[in-house]
């Protein structure tokens, strides 16, 4: 993996200001070991908790010392079901991906939760990471994942009266056909 430059597994302890929550310095792999994982070269843990244990796992990672939720996004796997998943994890249509970052241990962890198409809802992690507020609203707006417990789950990027969730694979691009022959038609 030279491309990313020598990824420093320094594991050093950056002096976060002392008032941050006391972190029980345990390796992230020790968190809920029974949750299926995939080996990944760039991130320390790639976990696939079932929907029920998602909030519990995020809570566990936060207590181990992952102070910052750097990213939360939703992906629609309608046309690509055959992706590599650890055995025992049934591929669903939607997937919510959460990236957590530990400043003290300089590690990243990625949680991928399968969300079925029948009821696309998931519990919100806004009580643990208030920073995920806007990201969850964007995931709701773009892919239509409902986050229970989110105080004001409304659209954030699209106008209020917009119907449909644009980043779903069955949502057309909305292309206006241009006037030359080979231009792909509206999709």
């Amino acid at each position: 993996m030279g491309a990313v430059g020598s990824r420093r597994r320094a594991g050093g302890h950056a002096p976060v200001s002392e008032t941050s929550t006391p972190t029980r310095a345990g390796p992230p792999s020790a968190v809920l070991p029974d949750v299926p994982r995939l080996p990944d070269s760039l991130v320390d843990q790639l976990a696939f908790p079932p929907r029920a244990r998602y909030a519990e796992m995020v809570e566990a990672f936060k207590s181990v010392g992952f102070e910052l939720c750097s990213d939360l996004c939703a992906v629609d796997y309608l046309t690509h079901p055959g992706r590599t998943l650890p055995d025992g994890v049934a591929p669903e249509r939607f997937e919510v991906v959460v990236n957590l970052l530990s400043l003290s241990q300089r590690q990243r962890v990625r949680i991928r939760v399968q969300v079925p198409e029948s009821d696309p809802c998931l519990s919100s992690i806004i009580d643990l990471y208030p920073g995920a507020d806007a990201m969850e609203r964007e995931a709701f707006d773009m892919v239509g994942i409902v986050f229970e417990g989110h105080p004001d789950l409304t659209r954030i990027l699209m106008p209020e009266d917009w119907e449909g969730h644009p980043l779903r694979k069955d949502y057309g691009v909305g292309r206006v056909p241009v006037q030359f022959k080979e231009a792909p038609g509206p999709r």
């Binding site: 699209m158 106008p159 917009w162 644009p166 691009v173 909305g174 292309r175 206006v176």
Partner: protein, 186 residues
């Protein structure tokens, strides 16, 4: 040195020329910076490309005091009614420069989110090409607008039969002096 040499200076100009000259040289743009083109518009306003030699360095924030709306950037579906609202609140006479390909035709974003061309919302006077248009291109667009003001009508005569669209650009195409047609020096 007879009277004919003074033909084009403003001393002997008619009132309309005087009004057109005054309007042309004091067009105040409304700050309508949306995206990347806004950064180029700002650098046109700054020291290197210096809009103030055209009397335009005062970027009025409120549409009540602005004459020119430079739509600088891509117009999203959520922004379209706001753009129309600000355009309506501008006082006549008002002009619109659609800066950049995203404002003019939706540019490379032919998708659900972008209005494919700002002329679906407001009547546009000058289209500036480029992504983003280099400051020289924007200055060229502003000079083209000045030329349009110079050769257009200053108001709509109540009884006139000429179609409104035609009258506004009356005589614009043929009598364009060469100075305006100089290609962008790129």
């Amino acid at each position: 040195m007879g009277i004919e040499d003074l033909q084009h200076n403003f001393l002997t100009g008619r009132i309309e020329d005087l009004v057109k000259w005054a309007r042309r040289n004091s067009v105040w743009p409304a700050t309508f910076g949306l995206a990347c083109c806004a950064i180029e518009m700002m650098s046109v306003g700054a020291a290197d490309y210096d809009l103030s030699r055209l009397g335009m360095e005062v970027f009025r924030a409120s549409p009540r005091q602005a004459d020119l709306m430079v739509v600088a950037g891509r117009v999203s579906q959520k922004m379209a009614p706001v753009l129309r609202q600000v355009y309506d609140q501008m006082m006549e006479p008002k002009w619109v420069i659609s800066m950049g390909v995203c404002a003019s035709t939706g540019g490379m974003f032919n998708n659900y989110a972008i209005v494919q061309g700002v002329d679906q919302i407001v009547p546009v006077d000058v289209y500036a090409p480029g992504c983003p248009p280099s400051p020289e291109t924007l200055l060229h667009a502003i000079l083209t607008l000045h030329e349009k003001i110079r050769t257009g009508e200053i108001t709509r005569r109540p009884g006139s039969t000429v179609a409104a669209g035609e009258q506004a650009t009356g005589g614009w195409v043929p009598s364009v002096p060469d100075a305006v047609r100089v290609a962008t020096p790129r």
